[in-house]
Symmetry: D2
Subunit: 382 residues, 4 copies
């Protein structure tokens, strides 16, 4: 049977741990694929690799082993006890496939060296398990906004700068993207970080004949927004303001509370809303770190809109979700869809995967229903 690698950058994080636990549990037939889009009946005809095809490895800069992380998520109520028991030993063996990630704070030498090492890790993994393909998915911590540099414009300029010892011309997510492409792997960015979104890296993907997708998994508030906004526009109702507050605990909450990091997340949310509504509206947005919520995320949105004869109306919603439980199945879906695209010879951005992202690469379509239609059309054509 053909074997495919799934290489996770940030492999010991919440999303990764939940995804890996879920994959092992699906394989062990102890859970149903609830939340897995690719398991919907309408994709049963598509040429997607099955759950058993995947081998998992990854990078992380944290040391806490995968089974320990899963234990914490079990205590936090994300993973059921019986599922944890069923996959615990499987998690240990996956953990042995995780290699140290790249971080500028701990790295000495050039970014070219770092990228080479990362690419080698992926190559070794593929060789060791005789994998035909490896899909790299970035689920590492959201980075602060990285400045745009002239060296990002061309691959040549970029590689010259990367070769300079001590220079940090790329954020870690982009180093990972570069390494993935160099290792001949499609790259998927589940985070809002820069990742592959630089002209030089897009050129590299084209040169390597590789597909890629991103950015920023669409799981909570934005998922609902991309569902609701078209209701207003198709009904010719004028949205006057759309305010949002997100309360989150977990690792992500801590990272995003740091205003600098939240920057990239807020920006990707804002872009989506303006595009959905066909213009800017007053849209204050907050992300608060509320540790006692644990893995739960709560979002409140208040939409004020105007109808016929100037009638002032409102819609408000409260979303209470487990972010990792929402994100994890999408990571598995993206591995399946991207592997299939790669196998089918797709090159460049995969706009058909916009359904999964807050800030889709390769398309301006943010409406969820239209994104789903595009996904199903594309999947049938595979």
């Amino acid at each position: 049977m053909s074997s495919i690698g799934l290489w996770l950058v940030g492999a010991r994080g919440s999303v990764a741990t939940t995804a890996i636990t879920g994959l092992l549990a699906l394989r062990a037939r102890v859970i149903e694929p609830t939340g897995c889009v690719s398991a919907l009946p309408r994709f049963s005809g598509a040429a997607l690799p099955d759950w058993d095809s995947f081998r998992i490895g990854g990078h992380d800069i944290a040391d806490l082993a995968l089974d320990k992380r899963a234990e914490l998520l079990t205590e936090a109520g994300v993973i059921p006890h019986r599922v944890f028991e069923a996959v615990r030993s499987g998690l240990s063996s996956v953990d042995s496939e995780i290699r140290p990630g790249y971080h500028p704070a701990t790295h000495s030498g050039s970014q070219a060296d770092a990228a080479r090492r990362l690419a080698d890790d992926i190559g070794d993994f593929a060789a060791r398990h005789e994998l035909e393909q490896v899909v790299v998915v970035n689920v590492s911590s959201t980075e602060p906004v990285f400045p745009s540099l002239p060296e990002h414009a061309t691959l040549k300029a970029l590689e010259a700068a990367m070769a300079v010892p001590g220079r940090t011309v790329l954020p870690p997510s982009s180093v990972s993207a570069y390494a993935a492409l160099r290792a001949g792997c499609p790259f998927v960015d589940f985070t809002p970080s820069t990742g592959i979104r630089l002209p030089a890296l897009e050129d590299l993907a084209a040169g390597q004949k590789l597909p890629y997708a991103g950015s920023d998994g669409k799981t909570g508030e934005t998922l609902v927004r991309s569902t609701l906004a078209p209701m207003f526009t198709t009904r010719a109702l004028t949205v006057r303001s759309w305010a949002g507050t997100n309360l989150l605990g977990g690792g992500d909450g801590l990272t995003l509370a740091d205003a600098e990091h939240a920057g990239s997340k807020l920006a990707s949310k804002g872009r989506g809303l303006a595009s959905l509504l066909g213009g800017e509206v007053t849209a204050p947005l907050h992300i608060d770190n509320v540790p006692d919520l644990g893995e739960q995320k709560i979002a409140w949105d208040h939409v004020s809109f105007e109808g016929f004869l100037g009638a002032r109306m409102s819609l408000q919603f409260t979303w209470t979700g487990y972010d990792s439980a929402l994100a994890a199945p999408l990571v598995l879906d993206l591995a399946r869809f991207t592997a299939a695209a790669h196998a089918a010879g797709s090159v460049g951005p995969l706009p058909a995967l916009a359904f999964f992202f807050k800030d889709p690469i390769g398309t301006a379509e943010h409406r969820l229903a239209e994104q789903f239609a595009a996904l199903t059309d594309w999947a049938e054509s595979l």
Copy 2:
């Protein structure tokens, strides 16, 4: 310029009064067509009659003149003062086109007589104003559920029963539908009442080569539901329960508080939800009469759903709307689209208008985005 009639059954009700006020105000250029779907740029190429083409008349069993009703709606905050002032005299002249409706309690003689009189009213209106077409839209009070009778099966059996003096073989909405068809007019049912939905009347429409559409305008809670439900299904999230409470004042609140009348409304809401979610879920639903809300309607929905690894999550929303302000522009849209369909020679149900209805005739499609796609495709083909 070609002239088209819009004949409203329930012409002095909230929805009708708001629609008429709005049409006069649009014509007087004192408002924007916010909330009018047919005024969206994407329909600018469709062959739709413009606001100036319409002449208005109708039936009602209430005596309060249209301008008085509009004054009440102005006090209740639905119609702005300046708009009311601008159209007040126009409303009086429309009121002179309103004829007494049919009601079993006040009618003696056969239903055939009643229907003939209603049809004649429409015919006189058309003749008086040299109208090429008249679209009949039912916006009268929701009726209690009417029993299914054997005489509803064929036109012949129906007309025989209608001829019997004192027999009530049809509810008023169906008498209106029959009269409309006999007068050569397309019929649109904005209410959940029986209306045209009887085999005998569908046959009559076919025989008369007339199109028709319905049922039950989709304005508040159900509009949001038909938007949100596909989010869960396309994301493979399992909805476990979907509870709803509606608080409404206004005339409609009073009617629906009467449990018998609410029956037809609750049934049409329930049908939609099960169809949207692909099966039955626990879905308690309440409609409460809360007079102090006036024309406002408030709906609270709580959706409990399950994701990956059995994660239990929820979404709740509160909708605060003015029902008449939401419904009125749709009545105008339906007049335009139905007139165009009629002019184009369409016969039978118009499933492309499902976008406007809770319980669409001629299709099982309840998803808002898909309904909008169907509407735009169809409108382009006109």
Copy 3:
């Protein structure tokens, strides 16, 4: 050390099981007394029996043993795993103190016989453990409304009727109250059932020189209402309507979905609101059984109110609670406070305990803050 009995009617239900589990856990020092009012610092001076003083027994008509019931509540997330493990064997030994309850459907003979048997069970329990006092608390299923009968007026008439074989002159809750009083025990009604609220039984309590308290534990929506309502009245804001919807799973959800049973619950809620607001307002109220919520209860309330110059404003809240976790500590509090009252020689209703009840006996005070002030004053006087 002095020993006190806590006799629970409905001892194998959710509330009872949670209360017993909690008491054992408090004694084992594996939990903090969060939610226990009597453990607040301000009551540290009051003469209340401590956690170690209590012995537990009770009646129930269900067979599922207490430790099994606790296991289900552990799976449902109400009891933490580690707590369950710590008290599991203690639960088994409490279960051996539970005797069959009285139910008209399974009883033959007179209600006098039934009451005698119940009283004997309590007496045996007291004797076996050499208890100085036993407090009886009713936490059994809510009963349907029971008709008022002339025999309820005097103890003599009541006992005559109870002696007639096959006659059902009292609902089970009142048979339990009668038995408790005859056994020389104070009676607390945590349910909305009739219980002690009959002139004949109040006379019996007076004759037996016993205190009693009730009715209907105030835990969710009503707790919030009794907190919020005084805000409106003291600020001179006029509440126009107060609508409520309760979604609940669990055993209680099933019982209350049955409209007949809900009757007593809705009535006790309604009484409180009118008293809080100083008059009737539009107040539609629903209790829906939503099994997937498990032990969770969700309540949504919408309050519409009017301020200066007629300004129309609203407050809405959503409460997400675990009913049993809210009720259980109050049951323990009531045992402590009632035992202290009894020891102090109180006779008749205990209005100072109104803080715990939706429909307090012996007072019309429903405002939470005032009730708390009354409780602390009274506790200091003990």
Copy 4:
């Protein structure tokens, strides 16, 4: 009949305009005193001046006349049309009693000069109308936080600094407070600005034998918080986090959107919450300017709390209010209560008025019910 002055600093703002309109309307008997605490039956025995006793004047730095401002508030839905018509001419005559306020940007000379001029304005007003007392209430725009200076410690040091031309030793609110006291008037601060809260000014009040009260009218979110928080503490439930988001339009929204100004508002809110809960909790708080909301204010709060056995529960509420309609009657109440206190010879802070304030002067009591009890006790003692 005895005559009392009400001197409003910020007399042409939303709160002031609404208060003045309301007072004139009460006097004209065209409205009920809904929202006026002092008009509750329980205060009918207190020695409070009646509506007819008051003469109004004030300071403002804006030019838009009171009747024009009231017209805007009428369009915004805060003042009913018929009320506006009834008081329009009265508003014009009050407007003639408004004098230019003090603002550092437009003032040259010393703050002592400024204060003298302000005090003279009040004195002239009192003389012109032969008033026995004048109560000064600050309802001007919230100021940015003002630094603490050594000169604030004693009246002597303060007056020395105030005499220096060009020195800004006090924020405008404190200049107004100083002027009021010098003019022999009690001072009430309805805003979160510094106002009278400086040792030097408190000394001056004592020296002048004047009472004073503040700070920051409690109208929306904080009103609800001070009502709800005691429910958690008296029920021994542990609040884990209390998050809040405020959406506001209006003049106040604009001022508070400016982060510097929001500082004092957020601080006064935070102080209250910690005091209510008996300690700090995670409590992110936002104030967003959402112009399309006009005079409406919407607040969403999410409270996460823990109960027995560690149960995790939540309460969330959405408040939709008209801030000015909530604030205005309190301004009138404060005028009545403060005038009565003054007449009764009270000197120094009036902690009994804490019921009206977010950040009460002279007491740490934030619980609404306890504040109301204190108010009624005090009022009876007047």
